[in-house]
Symmetry: C2
Subunit: 329 residues, 2 copies
């Protein structure tokens, strides 16, 4: 058996009540001398608090559960950094649960694992909950916040980038660089895909503002993956577009590599701007110009809001990082 406050009580001669009070630092309820004796004994005995007991009586905890999808996106690390930072500053703890990749069962397991214990709250990082699971989450009384994903339903709290602006600004940027035939590649615009549709609308708007007529084959949908980028590049015949907005860094890299394979030079023959701006952009050559999202801040702010119990939605900033993959036409 491990050592409990009862053992400390026995050793010091105080009651468990007093031991509990000093160990959980209920200041003002004990004297310095008492505290010292108890802390000493705790250290000597190698005491470790049993949080299961604490949570049981407190009906809450200082643990934030982060549920995250395990896609090959690589920006979740930055979001988690932001979360950890804020949590660390405020003495909260964080546990992370993988919800699989568009896997309803995995999602449900993650959610259940989280909900089965007292929790400060839940942060959902780019996981698009299935209706049943959303229901499950709502029915629990636990506060939650979505990060890096937005909804039409404004009753759902989220922190994300403004995807309409992302599509708009990426396109505008290419237009300013003299492009008129601009592709949009690798994103999902099925009816339920809010992010993809917003980006698409932003793209259309930018085109329209400059009097450019959208051509159907400029849009190459996909699932934000490297392979989607390769497929999109194949779909664009040589010369059909002079620039492409890639739905993610991976899509951008897929385009880059496939372009090289079919003998197209970037940015000489084709310009590319990718969305996300993770460190992958600087690993490849030419380095990818990107619409960079502030993932760290998303995590930090999401945690801040969750902790403070605020229920407003917010957008974090986006920024154009010019690197080497776009040329002036």
């Amino acid at each position: 058996m491990s050592v409990t406050i009862k053992d400390i009580a026995k050793k010091t001669g105080f009651s468990v009540a007093t031991v509990s009070r000093v160990l959980s630092n209920k200041t003002g309820f004990f004297s310095q001398t008492t505290a010292q004796a108890i802390h000493q004994a705790a250290a000597d005995l190698g005491y470790k608090k049993n949080m299961a007991a604490t949570e049981l009586v407190m009906q809450t905890s200082n643990v934030i559960a982060v549920i995250i999808n395990s896609t090959k996106t690589n920006f979740s690390d930055q979001i988690i950094m932001g979360i950890q930072k804020k949590a660390g500053e405020t003495g909260k703890r964080v546990i992370i649960l993988y919800a699989g990749d568009h896997d309803q069962t995995a999602q449900q397991i993650a959610l259940t694992t989280a909900l089965e214990r007292p929790l400060l709250g839940i942060l959902l990082v780019s996981v698009d909950l299935y209706p049943d699971n959303l229901q499950l989450l709502k029915s629990a009384k636990v506060p939650f916040f979505f990060i890096s994903i937005s909804f039409e339903d404004t009753k759902l709290n989220y922190i994300a980038s403004d995807d309409y602006q992302i599509g708009y600004q990426a396109t505008k940027f290419l237009i300013k660089h003299g492009h008129r035939k601009i592709g949009l590649a690798g994103l999902d615009i099925s009816p339920s895909a809010h992010t993809g549709n917003l980006r698409f609308h932003g793209y259309r708007k930018a085109l329209a503002e400059s009097g450019i007529n959208f051509q159907t084959n400029w849009l190459q949908t996909g699932d934000y993956s490297y392979e989607a980028g390769v497929a999109a590049m194949n779909a664009y015949q040589k010369g059909k577009v002079s620039a492409i907005v890639a739905a993610s860094d991976l899509v951008g890299i897929g385009i880059l590599n496939q372009a090289a394979k079919i003998g197209l030079h970037i940015p000489a023959d084709l310009s590319v701007v990718s969305i996300d701006g993770t460190n992958l952009c600087q690993l490849v050559r030419p380095a990818l110009t990107s619409i960079t999202q502030d993932f760290y801040q998303m995590g930090y702010l999401g945690t801040t809001y969750l902790i403070s119990g605020s229920n407003k939605n917010a957008y974090t900033e986006i920024q154009i990082c010019q690197r080497a993959s776009v040329k002036k036409n």
Copy 2:
């Protein structure tokens, strides 16, 4: 208040004991009819088990805590996949805790967060524990296993690649391709760095076997990062080596990009083989030839061993994946 087994007992007319038995599926202790009524009531009431209570009485749980360092390495995802797979197959749950990047306090917080609750066991993914923290871990009665990191101390259980072999085979491979001046870049060989030293020894051994005299400046140490690769490439003057073993994929990419910058063509002027073999190798051009580690299997096996309480160490397989960054000399 949320609904408890007491509520279900009241609603069905059974005792909490019976409710507990059917809900935790103590087969043989109840009739089908009873079970149905209770499950029905549980569903109607929206019952969710309070694991804090269960863990308190059981003094254990089916939760595996994974402690992982937050370096910019990108292979932990695969390890986690392997862990989740095995955990899923056996009905275990997994929570992940970030231990920072060589951050003693962050490590300690992660460890404490884990140890504060009943646990099936702990998996440490490429985290090199500070002595104090290792002590803390050992003093808890919880089983633990290291993944992707090995020790001289064989009392510590781990699953990793054979780093001596990694260094040996990478070097051997380059020798077979006709190289005699072979660099080793980006790894840490300070006395306490077990991995780096093993790889270095394997490298030396391969050199020696082919009667090649090691030159001090062939070794460029570092911290496995992209920047270490860049620095190493700068250190190798043009023509000093004809091939390089990169300590990680990121080091390899740093070499690739810096080589391009100073006008060296890979593999024409310089061959590179990187260690790890993550998907980054296929994202860059030329694609990196790599000594590929089986990270997924490490996670899977580590979890298997942890669950079964076995305490043997094991190596997972390594494999040479030929891509485009090595040429026959």
